[in-house]
């Protein structure tokens, strides 16, 4: 519970209506897309960097936990106020400040919707590759805080490669600018890369300078039917072994393929090629040869987008990350889960990135009825363990992590208890 004095100070900073303390409001900021529920003591919705800074100064003085929140789609509790305190919403920090084609970069506030940003740069003939599956609702700030990218990472690199620099506010309210607005920026500690993916434990992002590419001229989606998920993963490996770099490579199990409207009854591999028009055609011919008898149909434009939109509409229930050469083995195991993965569960495997998602397909029953995580999700997580993906924190790394955290946030107010492994790998 906050004292009347602190509530009063919060209201003085962000205004009466933007400091929420009614239990009815607090109950709606007690969660993100995980099953954890922890009620905050206040929610503030600042409209400027100055206001954020003042809130953090106050929180620091009072040792109040602060959790930044975009659209609350985190799958690892990144926006859940585990220790209560103040939720700092980015809902009013939603401006795209600049799109600069000549410098291939854009500046935006953290609350900007990711899909909206992607559309805005595309109308200028530019391209922002990081494509987290939550893009229709997630925010740039949330993506950067979580280091969230998507299937295009296989060709275009991770989100970190697209954050040129940022303005951040530190735990004590002071401000810091990192990086530059140039694509090349050598020497010195790379604070930008440290902050990206730090899950709100080191700073609040108040402005992001993002790198853009020219929009590829041609884009084509190949739908390749496969015997099962493991076969789809093997085909994906063959495609990259042949020297091709598809912009997206996603393997879908049969249920997911049907739900995506891919017109297939078997598992499929979605292979998106982009680049120059002749280049795309040449690559498509090679993929067709590799797929052999399996070679399927071909979609472009809206028909292709419709399929990707379907995929993005499925909530992720669990996620594991493996080195991509281990995908066929993992997916064979996932295939054996068949009985547990009843009709409505889908598996979407990032055959380019090694990220595998267990998703709820439309109409999934009782997806949310088991608060401690559903049975398939648990089996799925167990598989991740079996494949040695949860690395225990090695001691020197853990010590470094602790000193880093206390250097940036000596009072430990920023997103306390959010799981974070020392080298950035998922702790759960």
């Amino acid at each position: 519970m906050l004292s009347a004095q602190i509530k009063h100070e919060l209201r003085a900073i962000v205004g009466e209506r933007m400091a929420l303390t009614d239990p009815a409001d607090l109950a709606t900021y007690a969660y993100d897309a995980t099953h954890y529920t922890h009620t905050p003591d206040a929610v503030v919705v600042p409209a400027s960097t100055d206001e954020v800074s003042a809130v953090l100064r106050l929180a620091s003085r009072e040792r109040l936990p602060v959790v930044a929140r975009g659209s609350g789609t985190s799958l690892c509790g990144g926006a859940t106020p585990i220790r209560g305190g103040v939720v700092l919403s980015t809902a009013r920090l939603r401006r795209i400040l600049d799109i600069n084609a000549a410098r291939s970069c854009a500046t935006a506030e953290p609350g900007v919707n990711t899909a909206e940003f992607m559309r805005a740069v595309e109308t200028r003939g530019l391209f922002y590759p990081p494509d987290p599956s939550s893009q229709s609702v997630s925010t740039l700030g949330g993506n950067v805080a979580q280091g969230a990218g998507g299937p295009r990472g296989a060709k275009y690199g991770s989100l970190r490669d697209y954050v040129l620099g940022c303005d951040v506010i530190l735990a004590d309210g002071s401000r810091l600018r990192t990086g530059a607005n140039t694509v090349k920026n050598a020497s010195g500690y790379d604070l930008t890369r440290l902050f990206v993916g730090s899950r709100g434990t080191l700073c609040f992002f108040s402005q992001l300078r993002l790198r853009l590419l020219p929009l590829p001229v041609a884009r084509r989606l190949l739908l390749l039917p496969c015997a099962d998920l493991a076969a789809a993963a093997r085909l994906a490996l063959a495609i990259t072994a042949a020297g091709l770099l598809p912009s997206r490579l996603e393997a879908l199990n049969d249920q997911a393929a049907a739900a995506a409207g891919a017109g297939q009854t078997s598992a499929i591999l979605l292979c998106e090629l982009d680049g120059s028009a002749p280049g795309v055609d040449r690559q498509a011919a090679i993929v067709a040869r590799l797929a052999g008898a399996q070679s399927g149909e071909d979609r472009a434009g809206e028909a292709a987008e419709a399929i990707w939109n379907q995929l993005q509409g499925w909530p992720t229930l669990a996620r594991v990350q493996v080195p991509r050469d281990r995908l066929p083995a993992l997916l064979a195991k996932v295939g054996e889960l068949g009985g547990t993965l009843r009709g409505d569960w889908g598996v979407v495997a990032g055959a380019g990135t090694g990220g595998v998602r267990l998703v709820a397909l439309p109409g999934t029953k009782d997806a949310g009825t088991e608060p401690e995580g559903s049975a398939p999700a648990a089996e799925f997580a167990a598989l991740a363990g079996e494949f040695g993906l949860v690395r225990p924190a090695a001691e020197p790394a853990e010590r470094l992590r602790r000193s880093l955290k206390s250097a940036f946030d000596p009072r430990g107010i920023l997103n306390p208890l959010v799981p974070l492994a020392p080298d950035g790998s998922q702790a759960r």
């Binding site: 009815a24 709606t28 659209s71 509409g313 439309p362 999934t364």
Partner: protein, 415 residues
């Protein structure tokens, strides 16, 4: 929309529905209120979690909770798009009803519902009073419209929303010689009070298509507003009365021009006569046989929530419009996104409603259409108001909002 569990069962019966929400947050992409408010309580996920917190005893019922549950258009976009199949609409109705039992109804809304909507005469008075008030500047009439006037910022909006049309009862005329169908016309509250010309057009069009139209005695409000505002008992009473009147009318079909009434009527359990939206009846049943003359005009169509998602009727009104020679139908972006009217929402949340409306009007204006057609008088009221504001601001845009049937009626008229 069907399956209203009985009033007495309470919110507990809906716990499973609340648990079905996986909190993915994807409803943020489709919720018109969230696009404006940007607060978690404004989106379906937040409201479902409020219901769950109440059910789990983590939250006490309070007027603040009630207000957040009513910050919603009942547009159904979340329900239609939820990947987990959460029936948000159903859950919300139950939660609202529970809250009203626990903490009571806000004073003003109670007045509006019980005294105005439940009583056709006082609605008529309020409507006519407002119309007169607006046209004549007779300030003393204001006391007729207290129910609207006491809503914050509501009166100005209520006045400005009124279309300026004449008031008269539809004339059904003598039965055609060999009628193809005998249908009952259900003219809802908004049409009867504010759009008598529309009612007349519906009757005229049905007659042109060879129907004998009857106006059964004893019909009242369909009850949907009462259900939306948590008064299931009053809604049921109205439903029973209407069901009796329609069952006794010995007709082959019930036809309505109001999307909301249509959705409500189709949900009546004891009704023995099939209910059609007027465009659905004309296109799918009667088959549009009468000759029509050309109408050279560009039209864009707005899908009413209660027609597109509520009844699954999207194609019929479009086919009806395309059947008019010369009419150029152009699709607008986000045609099925709520216009922000949503019954009394426009009166209880004028600011939010206006911003939702602005997006709708901008989408309509971008088509270059001269007319926005929509199959619901409540949408016509809201969009007409938005178009008026656009014109007053000196901006280009469609000049009026009409029901597809009104355009069809024009096409029947002798040259």
């Amino acid at each position: 929309m069907s399956d209203h569990r009985e009033d007495g069962e309470g919110l507990q019966a809906y716990y499973d529905e609340a648990l079905r929400c996986v909190r993915c947050g994807l409803c943020q992409a489709v919720c018109p209120v969230y696009a404006v408010e940007q607060s978690e309580a404004s989106v379906a996920r937040g409201k479902v979690q409020l219901a769950r917190a109440l059910l789990e005893g983590r939250l006490e019922p309070s007027p603040a909770v009630r207000e957040r549950l009513f910050l919603c258009l009942n547009c159904g976009a979340c329900t239609a798009n939820c990947p987990s199949g959460v029936n948000v609409a159903k859950l919300m109705l139950a939660t609202r009803a529970q809250l009203l039992r626990d903490v009571g109804r806000p004073a003003v809304e109670g007045l509006l519902l019980r005294q105005v909507l439940a009583n056709p005469r006082s609605l008529g008075l309020a409507g006519a009073g407002l119309a007169l008030y607006r046209r004549s500047g007779l300030r003393w009439l204001a006391h007729y419209v207290d129910a609207l006037a006491t809503l914050p910022a509501g009166l100005a909006k209520a006045e400005a929303m009124l279309p300026s049309r004449s008031r008269s009862r539809p004339r059904v005329g003598p039965a055609p010689e060999r009628p193809r169908y005998r249908v009952a016309y259900f003219a809802g509250c908004v049409t009867s009070v504010l759009y008598p010309d529309l009612a007349q057009s519906v009757v005229a069009v049905l007659r042109q298509e060879g129907c004998q139209v009857v106006l059964p005695r004893g019909l009242g409000c369909c009850g949907t507003p009462h259900r939306a505002y948590g008064d299931a008992a009053a809604a049921q009473k109205l439903a029973d009365r209407n069901t009796r009147a329609l069952n006794e009318a010995s007709v082959e079909a019930v036809v309505t021009d109001c999307a909301t009434c249509g959705a409500g009527l189709k949900d009546y359990s004891g009704l023995r006569v099939p209910v059609y939206d007027v465009s659905q009846f004309l296109v799918e049943e009667a088959g549009l046989v009468a000759p029509r003359r050309p109408l050279a005009v560009r039209v864009t169509y707005h899908d009413p929530c209660h027609l597109a998602r509520g009844q699954g009727v999207r194609e019929a009104p479009r086919r009806l419009l395309r059947a008019i020679p010369g009419l150029d139908l152009v699709e607008m972006a986000e045609a099925d996104r709520c216009c922000g009217g949503a019954g009394t929402f426009a009166l209880t949340h004028p600011e939010t409603s206006l911003r939702i409306l602005e997006r709708k009007v901008a989408n309509a204006a971008a088509t270059g259409a001269a007319i926005v057609a929509s199959g619901c008088p409540a949408c016509l009221l809201q969009i007409g108001y938005g178009l008026g504001r656009l014109a007053a601001g000196g901006q280009d845009g469609p000049r009026e909002a009409l029901h597809p049937v009104e355009l069809l009626a024009q096409a029947y008229a002798p040259p």
